[in-house]
């Protein structure tokens, strides 16, 4: 353990190389990508809703990164096309998530555009699906005797509705739903959109090969 200098230099060089290829190079690649065409910046209400999304920790159970068809049948599940770097241009920090205890939410605004559905579901997921393991968020709502003129009343089945009065959504719930409704990524991805297409090309080649063998049989 005498050659401290060469050892230190080698260690630093390895670290520098890793940083160059894993941090700096992708950083340059991504920063060259503008927002995808068709992606709108968040409105004020959506930005507030996004803050609620972050504070509720939705990220722990919901990802925001549909995979390409070669990796998972996300498109067939109706979760939308595979996302590209430009789709996250206005997200800082992004809410990619790693767990899929619940479904991916990148495209939820296209898939479930109904404000009323979202409010019912946030108030009590079991009102819609008895098997749902999503927590209920009653503290995003208030119980009122009578709805005011601007109140949004939550539609609830008798089993979960209060005995008297109505359940109305607080501002946080409305903002969160506005954010979810705005999660739309159905526009065409940019041509130079950065993403990991997995084994799409290989899969395509294999399919062509199978087609050729089927045809020759």
């Amino acid at each position: 353990m005498n050659r401290y200098l060469p050892l230190a230099i080698t260690a630093l060089a390895i670290l520098a190389l890793a940083t160059l290829f894993l941090v700096i190079a992708p950083g340059m690649q991504i920063s060259a990508q503008g927002p995808s065409q068709g992606l709108k910046p968040y409105t004020e209400a959506e930005a507030r809703g996004r803050a609620v999304y972050v504070s509720m920790g939705c990220l722990y159970c919901h990802s925001q990164q549909p995979r390409s068809l070669a990796q998972a049948p996300d498109a067939e599940r109706g979760w939308g096309r595979a996302s590209v770097a430009g789709d996250y241009a206005y997200d800082d920090p992004h809410q990619l998530g790693t767990m899929r205890t619940g479904p991916d939410l990148m495209d939820i605004g296209d898939r479930l555009p109904s404000q009323a559905w979202q409010l019912t579901h946030l108030y009590q997921p079991r009102a819609i699906a008895s098997w749902s393991i999503m927590p209920a968020y009653p503290y995003l709502f208030e119980h009122k005797d009578k709805a005011g003129p601007d109140d949004v009343v939550v539609k609830l089945p008798a089993q979960y509705a209060p005995k008297s009065g109505v359940i109305v959504a607080k501002q946080d719930a409305l903002d969160l739903v506005t954010y979810l409704q705005g999660m739309k990524r159905q526009y065409a991805p940019p041509k130079d959109g950065l993403r990991d297409n997995g084994y799409a090309l290989i899969a395509e080649k294999q399919r062509d090969a199978t087609d050729a063998t089927t045809a020759s049989n």
Partner: protein
């Protein structure tokens, strides 16, 4: 370090016998260099792979726009191919039509008098009502192709119908089609021959138009669709204002009323599973279900679907038109009607249906979690199709023109057939 006395019970931790004498062996260097070269090659290869995968979709869009830029004479050969793909299933390969069902285009008085321009209008908007062609009466149920064909494609089809199938000399160019689209693109389908008479001068006598009869129930249904009730969400909040659907939410516009009513009853009974729809159906009365079914059955709206699953459209077209007997799958169109417009009361239209919905439902038929089709027909088909076939056929159907709304008189005749909750499963 040096002033510590060595402990006889423990060997010297810093003792490294080879360190000073041996150099790093050359295989280690060569492996490191080889790894680096391999890394660079992989980096280059993967980035080309991403480009190629992106190309297919984008290239198609680009080709379309370059085609549009060439305002030259329409390509009649392309028109013939497009005719075979889009029109021939009903009107016949040579435009001869089917007596009593689909009017002829070859030698048709409508085409003769109206020319390529009238054909463009009809292709774009479709027809929903009775009409006379060459003195014979037809039901008049033509899909609107405006939302699925480009201006260039419509110009090619219209020009082919006017000059290739008939002896008209005048073709129509893509910019002219674009002008027509600006004026008429988002209008409802022609109300049969009476509607066409406004477009074409000197058209022979046509049946009277059946004015849309909005019943007394319409206001209540509109509230159900637009606002929902205290417990049930508005239909339109997911299915769209025009019932065109989105992603896994199906298109409802123009589906047969008895089919729609049966599905709602099945959701209610639990013979078709979808938590959100079960919730909705349980909050609806039989009467409301009947009214809603009629509401959506009589709705005409443009296609809201486009291929989105990277399916093989050629394979999809093959499955839809011919089927594939090697896997025991009949053509979709044998039951769901020519061009997938649907055959009331049991077979819903599948043209312009959302691709994610179709692929998802086929997977559900295959897995057995949907099992409410007459005679279990769809279960066998769903099982025979593999994943890429499901995507292919779903994408192909999404590229088709939507079916027109049902005729009012037909609807009225069918109302008595709408099954009630305790009714026999069809």
């Amino acid at each position: 370090m040096t002033d510590k006395k060595p402990d006889p019970r423990r060997p010297d931790e810093t003792f490294e016998p080879f360190e000073e004498t041996r150099r790093i062996p050359w295989p280690v260097y060569s492996i490191a260099i080889a790894l680096a070269i391999w890394g660079v090659i992989m980096l280059v290869q993967t980035s080309t792979a991403v480009e190629v995968a992106d190309k297919t979709q984008k290239e198609v869009a680009k080709e379309d726009s370059t085609k549009l830029a060439q305002a030259a004479a329409p390509d009649l050969d392309a028109g013939k191919t497009l005719f075979a793909d889009n029109c021939a299933t009903c009107h016949g390969d040579a435009g001869e039509g089917v007596a009593g069902a689909f009017p002829p285009l070859h030698g048709s008085d409508v085409v003769k008098l109206g020319g390529a321009k009238a054909v463009t209008h009809i292709v774009m908007r479709g027809i929903g009502g009775k009409l006379n062609v060459n003195g014979d009466g037809y039901e008049g149920q033509m899909p609107a192709f405006g939302s699925v064909l480009s201006d260039t494609e419509i110009s090619e089809i219209a020009s082919y119908v006017a000059t290739g199938l008939n002896d008209d000399a005048k073709t129509i160019s893509a910019p002219e089609v674009a002008d027509i689209r600006k004026v008429a693109g988002d209008k409802d389908p022609f109300d049969g021959g009476a509607g066409l008479a406004g477009l074409i001068n000197d058209l022979p006598a046509q049946p009277n138009s059946e004015a849309a009869d909005q019943g007394a129930d319409s206001e209540r249904v509109a509230r159900l669709v637009g606002q929902g009730t205290d417990t049930v969400w508005a239909c339109a909040s997911c299915h769209g204002d025009k019932g065109e659907g989105i992603e896994t939410v199906p298109r409802l516009a123009g589906l047969p009323a008895p089919y729609l009513a049966k599905q709602l009853h099945d959701f209610q009974r639990g013979t078709r599973f979808n938590d959100s729809m079960a919730y909705v159906a349980k909050g609806l009365s039989d009467r409301e279900i009947g009214e809603l079914a009629n509401y959506y059955a009589s709705m005409s709206s443009p296609s809201g679907a486009k291929p989105a699953l990277q399916g093989d459209l050629k394979r999809g077209a093959q499955l839809a038109k011919q089927g594939d007997w090697s896997i025991g799958v009949p053509a979709c169109f044998t039951c769901h009607g020519p061009s997938g417009v649907g055959v009331a009361p049991n077979f819903p239209g599948i043209a312009a249906q959302q691709p994610s919905y179709v692929a998802h439902q086929l997977a559900m038929w295959a897995g057995g979690s949907r099992h409410n089709s007459p005679l279990g027909l769809m279960a066998g088909i769903g099982k025979a199709l593999n994943d890429s076939d499901r995507r292919a056929v779903a994408d192909y159907l999404a590229s088709l023109a939507p079916m027109p709304a049902m005729d009012k008189t037909e609807l009225a005749a069918m109302e008595s057939n709408i099954p009630v909750r305790e009714g026999v499963d069809q």
